[in-house]
Subunit: 468 residues, 2 copies
């Protein structure tokens, strides 16, 4: 017999987990569509040439290659995509004349990475990306931040912080401290501030060495940079912007970056968003090399240790590998699996393993035809309803319904059939209404469900506070 | 520069195609949940041992194997799933104590097959399965047929035929004609009746040869069998059942099969379903070896040449490869891509490339902050709204909105801003209401959308008749 286990680094989802994920994805989908974003899809299988083009980093070594059974890997050109950004670039190069620009797309899809298996990291997982391609407008930058807000609010996250920076401001800072030549290395270290703290960053900056084994960042320069950033990180947006204006007065593109950040904050303020704090953080770097303008990173208040649940930024040239058409854009991505893990830990997910509210008991000695007719009527009225398949003892069927989270059991035994009545059992309170007329079935069930809804706390209350 | 094309046998979806597919999947999801089915998920990557267990047929040769970049295929145990049934079997063996039985699950997911590339066949495609595992009840059989009905009706298919048979009846027929020993070979041929016709089936039966190169099915036996089936195929359900009762009187399991078909028809009648014809077809075979009871196959009336859009059946032992627990069940699958192709051909899809109804024009010289505030208000009222990212000429923005299928453009230029008014342009009729007070924005837009909805034909009318 074959062991029924999944490959290392993958997992099955039980119904309650699948329901929670589907709901979260559906919330994000509605958010995107409310902003006029349209869905696209691309194949999971891409040509290796497309995926290998960017070469060099960690993710490249994690790509999965594919060949048909009996074929050799060398005789196939297939691989599994590792993100949705490379496919977007290829897609825009192939279809820009069909879709036009500006193009606002979202894409929810599986991606694959051969990461070492560890808790909370999977080798296949969903990404949930949205981008506005073909515009350099501040409206697009602000809308991406706004969607991060709208999506997390709709998902029931009570409070979160969106940190903002602009790559041009960072470059200005690096130039100011004479570090622009070592940009990539320094940004990679700054990116770890939240993880390793100021002292950790100082250590790692000191450890950066050039080809001659000399420190890339002199000790006193590192100290000045960190002191500056540390102070800025603690200030409010207006003070940060003012301080940076002064510090970077001579640096033109940095000033443009500051203006952009100001404008984005003004638009977000105009939209009167709640639950979110938007905070300028001049130490925010976002490792990816291709960002060139604004960058975002979002953590849930009180759950910062989970890391970013939404992040992104602006880029100048999305699809340069595939087309000579210049496609600037801005976008971000929700971390679906991370957010679900966080919500579970915070107690913000209502664990639920049922999708329909009513179980129609298959009463031993009852009439299944009547059950079929009534169930169909309930469904036509928009009320989900399952008929238990087998005429097992009532106790078994009620146990099945309760353990799965059904809200009501509908009981129509031989006596009820003879009298044209039914009984309705609330599976939470265990109260049972008897002798209700079958002719009023739909109305009575609907009323009971509505009453139940009124008694439940609303989602906002459920979410209540960081300490859940 | 790299050519931005997808691998042979795969495709990108443009927004209108992705919207249509998402809507269809969402319709099926709601249908399943209305019947109390819960979603599960399993990884796309499975261990080869799990997928190779069933060995032997066409699909096995089409499996894709996977290895991490730099690794050899022989050093990996990964492959891509080719259906959702083997994963369900593995899942039930692994989790039956968590999920319990009866277990009603649906699963929508990508599957991969290295088929030769041809029109309408893809190497990765969605399957959309639903099963009731752990029950032998007629209620489960009838519910699967009912869900095929409910799903296709909800998808807007005006009329379709669900053909039903029972493997035990087929076996009785084969036994009656002395052909039970050649069951698999004969059923495979009978399965092609719709494609190749009676004469084609006769030819293929004649061509079946044993190890001794003698015909498996003597000519006169084949003629009798086909004459019998041909006549039965033309009769109504009651006559077919009566004729089979007589013919198979001495065959006990065949009689059980007939009783089951009668009971299923009675339950479907009780549910008062519309739009569907349920028809007993004793020639229906369904190639898959593992069906043991009722089988279903559904075609859309007037579009039979597209083949089955939903099919399935009952099995005795889902997970015998993975567990000694016997798990009988019944289920079916919607052919999502085929149905979409059919609906497109029939004109039942409203091509639409927009998800939000309102474009808020980014008027040159206007105030983007005001736009952000108003757009946020519309969205909070449940009205999807996009702000055009750049202050391009009005004509460009209206062109963008019309070509994508936005219904209204909201125009607030400097004059309107000064007067606290807005203009609302119906992009279909090109009528424009001017000087509406901004304080009534949400109500006015909602009223305009509702008015528009009243004027549109409803989906049933749109679908109108087979000749669309």
């Amino acid at each position: 017999m074959i062991e029924p286990r999944v490959p290392s680094g993958t997992r099955d989802l039980l119904p309650a987990q699948a329901i929670a994920r589907d709901r979260l994805l559906s919330v994000f989908r509605s958010t995107f569509e409310g902003h006029g974003f349209v869905p696209i899809d691309t194949p999971v299988l891409e040509r290796r040439e497309v995926l290998y083009a960017k070469g060099g980093d960690e993710i490249q070594r994690q790509i999965y290659e594919v060949a048909q059974r009996g074929q050799r890997l060398e005789d196939s050109d297939l691989a599994l995509r590792f993100d949705l950004t490379v496919p977007l670039a290829r897609y825009m190069a192939a279809h820009v004349s069909d879709v036009g620009v500006p193009f606002k797309r979202y894409h929810i899809g599986l991606v694959f990475r051969g990461e070492r298996a560890q808790r909370g990291r999977y080798r296949e997982f969903y990404q949930c990306d949205f981008d506005i391609v073909g515009s350099r407008s501040v409206v697009a930058d602000a809308e991406v931040a706004e969607i991060i807000h709208d999506g997390l609010r709709a998902a029931g996250i009570p409070a979160f912080t969106v940190r903002l920076n602009d790559r041009r401001v960072l470059d200005g800072l690096l130039a100011h401290f004479g570090l622009l030549a070592h940009r990539s290395a320094v940004l990679r270290v700054l990116d770890k501030w939240d993880k390793v703290g100021r002292d950790g960053v100082a250590r790692e900056l000191a450890a950066l060495r050039g080809a001659d084994n000399q420190p890339l960042v002199p000790h006193d320069v590192a100290e000045q940079l960190l002191q500056q950033l540390d102070q800025l990180r603690k200030n409010d947006n207006a003070s940060v912007l003012a301080a940076l204006r002064e510090l970077l007065a001579g640096h033109e593109t940095a000033s443009q970056g500051l203006t952009r950040l100001e404008e984005v904050l003004a638009l977000l303020e105009a939209a009167e968003l709640d639950g979110a704090t938007f905070r300028i953080d001049p130490s925010l770097a976002r490792g990816l090399d291709y960002y060139t303008g604004i960058i975002f990173e979002t953590t849930v208040d009180g759950y910062e240790s989970f890391g970013a649940v939404a992040a992104g930024g602006r880029y100048d040239d999305l699809a340069g590998l595939f087309t000579s058409i210049e496609l600037p854009g801005v976008g971000a991505s929700f971390g679906v699996d991370r957010l679900l893990a966080l919500m579970a830990e915070a107690g913000w997910l209502q664990p639920q393993a049922a999708t329909a509210p009513v179980l129609l008991v298959n009463f031993p000695g009852g009439d299944v035809r009547v059950y079929f007719r009534l169930a169909h009527r309930l469904r036509q009225a928009g009320i989900g309803c399952e008929i238990f398949p087998d005429p097992r003892p009532l106790r078994d069927q009620l146990g099945y319904a309760s353990s799965r989270g059904y809200r009501f059991a509908l009981i129509i035994g031989p006596d009820e059939l003879a009298q044209g009545t039914f009984a309705l059992r609330n599976l939470q309170t265990r109260q049972q209404q008897r002798d209700l007329p079958l002719s009023e079935l739909v109305d009575r069930v609907r009323a009971a469900l509505a009453e139940g809804n009124r008694l439940r706390t609303d989602p906002a209350e459920r979410g209540g506070g960081k300490n859940g």
